[in-house]
Point group: D2
Chain length 166, copies 4
Amino acid sequence: MNDDPIRIIITGGTFDKKYDEIKGVMTFRDSNLPEIIKKARIFTPVEFELIDLIDSLEMTDEHRALIREACERSPEKRIVITHGTDRMAETARFLGPLGINKTIIITGAMIPYQVYGSDAPFNFGGAFMAARLMQAGVYIAMNGRVFPWQDVRKDYEKGIFRPIDE
Amino acid sequence: MNDDPIRIIITGGTFDKKYDEIKGVMTFRDSNLPEIIKKARIFTPVEFELIDLIDSLEMTDEHRALIREACERSPEKRIVITHGTDRMAETARFLGPLGINKTIIITGAMIPYQVYGSDAPFNFGGAFMAARLMQAGVYIAMNGRVFPWQDVRKDYEKGIFRPIDE
Amino acid sequence: MNDDPIRIIITGGTFDKKYDEIKGVMTFRDSNLPEIIKKARIFTPVEFELIDLIDSLEMTDEHRALIREACERSPEKRIVITHGTDRMAETARFLGPLGINKTIIITGAMIPYQVYGSDAPFNFGGAFMAARLMQAGVYIAMNGRVFPWQDVRKDYEKGIFRPIDE
Amino acid sequence: MNDDPIRIIITGGTFDKKYDEIKGVMTFRDSNLPEIIKKARIFTPVEFELIDLIDSLEMTDEHRALIREACERSPEKRIVITHGTDRMAETARFLGPLGINKTIIITGAMIPYQVYGSDAPFNFGGAFMAARLMQAGVYIAMNGRVFPWQDVRKDYEKGIFRPIDE
């Protein structure tokens, strides 16, 4: 388990937003994941797969179908998906009932990786570890916790994830 | 398990080294952990305990006795210890045989938190998650893996942790 | 000249934008200037004055009247104004003809201070030095150059400042 | 003057120190200057010249002879030298009496560029602007001031530069 290969499916979100200095807004160019993996000195096998780099507010069921396919055909049994936080819980509820026999951990960030003090590396570290340790199923790993897909929501006011009734 | 309180025992190491601009070297002043916890938006209970801020090359068995005591009297059953990487495996082998009935995860960093591209938040994110998910025992969480105390060494050439025979 | 007190008039712009993790956009909270001054170890007298923290696209002649007043009543003869880049040249052309007998240097940034690799400290360092060295007049200091107010424009395509005919 | 080409002579110092994660110390690999120039969007001509990447405590008169030569044969009349702070004043006093008919500005940093909150970009921005604006001579630009070579010292306690009698 400890050196199982892990697939990382990249879908964008704040995690991978970069500052576009010409337009003056946060936008997407390419993913920070390869750099994070390198800096974290992960030497066990990691496969990257880029679905799209979009804000999760723009995520449609067509995008989710692509994520589903990517999960289903992944030869690796352990998967981390980076995703925007605004629709992360929806994607978890889309994937969860499919019964894919793999460990699928969805994570993201509230602050872009390129901004000082970003939560991206912390969340990704937690998601990567959860992908190692959890049994098959669909989960969200955020804020130092891991939630099953059936019982997770974003608390938009506090900017955190928590169980539905908490 | 998902909202168990977690104790963080801080012992220094590269993780918490800061640049001393007067002396021109990396040294210790205070821990970056409270900031990391805040940035990661961890809202479940976290207790900090500062044993010492030292380079792990200077760590003696007296320091390790303090760490042991801190683990034993911790009311929290889940513990993360931040530690220098050079003697991390020794501390794991010191604590492991004691049979403390808690989940104890030791982690650290190769690049100080204050240096751009530090592995500290990634490793800490992984250790924090391992503290949630692992059963009682002493482990090292580094480089996206978690190692039992009996089978871990630092590969000084590559700057990573791995099993003894790998 | 070398230890003349310098007044810093803060008006916002990309220089002082911060990432709002709840809204997911760059916005304003408070200025980074005090931290920059502290990190730069400036021990000569510096006075801060906060006019407003706005995007320069929203800057009206009413805001410019406030900037004018701030310049006129400044007891310091050397002034740096931080400003959004999109309307910086307009503000220079507003202030220039007034004939205020002080050295007024306007500067800003294309990348927010909090984003890794920001040009804010470089530009501010150049503007601060220009405020020390230039004679009375209104100038823009950006990209390692200093421009008189009559002959400066933003090249929106390249994201730099240059003379009108260059 | 405003678009004169500028030569940058790189000699190391804290400015260009990088964290060596294997050895756990700050050391030298390559210069950050090209990245700083790029991020600052400097489009006027800049020439780099790497003399050496050393701590200024190790700087000998042989190194200084190389710096002298580099200044003398520089086709550009405006030069910025990056240098360790500990022996910066000595190098200024070495170069000053030579009467080289160029504007030579020496600068450096107390905190490495790669450490969050570094003073390197601010100091370099000030030095670059001083190289544009000062007449021929040898100067140190640090902490938002510019000092003639005859009257500058490092205040080791405060970590700043100041006139000899201040």
